[in-house]
Symmetry: none
Subunit: 148 residues, 2 copies
Amino acid sequence: MSETHTGVTTPRPGSPPGAAGEPVISCGEEHEDCGIRDVLDRIGDKWSVLVIVELAAGTRRFRELLRAVPGISQRMLTLTLRRLERDGLVHRTVHPTVPPRVEYRLTAMGHGLTLLLKGLADWSADHRAAIAASRRRWDAEHPEADIR
Amino acid sequence: MSETHTGVTTPRPGSPPGAAGEPVISCGEEHEDCGIRDVLDRIGDKWSVLVIVELAAGTRRFRELLRAVPGISQRMLTLTLRRLERDGLVHRTVHPTVPPRVEYRLTAMGHGLTLLLKGLADWSADHRAAIAASRRRWDAEHPEADIR
DNA sequence: CGGAATCCAAATAGATACTG
DNA sequence: CAGTATCTATTTGGATTCCG
């Protein structure tokens, strides 16, 4: 789910070994949903949205985020924050004190993204019941189907 | 119904940092995701968006989708379609002929979702360059970092 | 406190073969 | 044509330990 086919994708220094001529189903030139994958790959994971939502409320320290996002592990919070930082959605400030103090806040672009997330959240809320009902109906009509 | 309990709010300019008071997130009373997770879990996977985008153009048969979405396997197309159907985003019509003819089309709710996806696609397109640049910078500043 | 490193379990995706 | 059924490979997330 990470860096897919941006067309300009940066292969990081320590690129994967072997695996030369990968097909890499690059969305040719006709499919216009190309850029959207970058964003979906980011917000589609398990924790990014929750972290972004928390940061939308203001600057937070690492430990604060850990508490604010219930269930997230230290490792996943670190990974999530690094990825968001790498994409330019989150800014990280290190205060060279003892003990260390590291603060995270959304960048302007990150804040812009929250507007879209709000739209998504609204739509989700509006259709939550319908989706749940549809699932119940489908599950009833397809017993012993294993889709997940 | 749209402005009820949404997930993200725009931070006020003078918001005190780390003010442990009111969470600016209102997802009802508990820390639930407002149902946005249901939607993200669906559109966040590898293929759903591509399938939805293709169906947004009109009714499609299974084989047509298989050709239209480059790289998807038969199995993943089936799974993706079943999940979308279960959520009430896609409708499936079986014509009892020989050979079988199965058609897929978006439901009204599915079409509604495409509007949001368009918003996301637009935003992605607008920030694609910025994101790519941010990634290059980050990767340059963090050699041998493996964020995946 | 804020991580990085390691190991392991689970979820997800892909290839292939078979069928009504 | 439109799927299932298996099996395997890859990705992802979680738990734990250690460290400046």
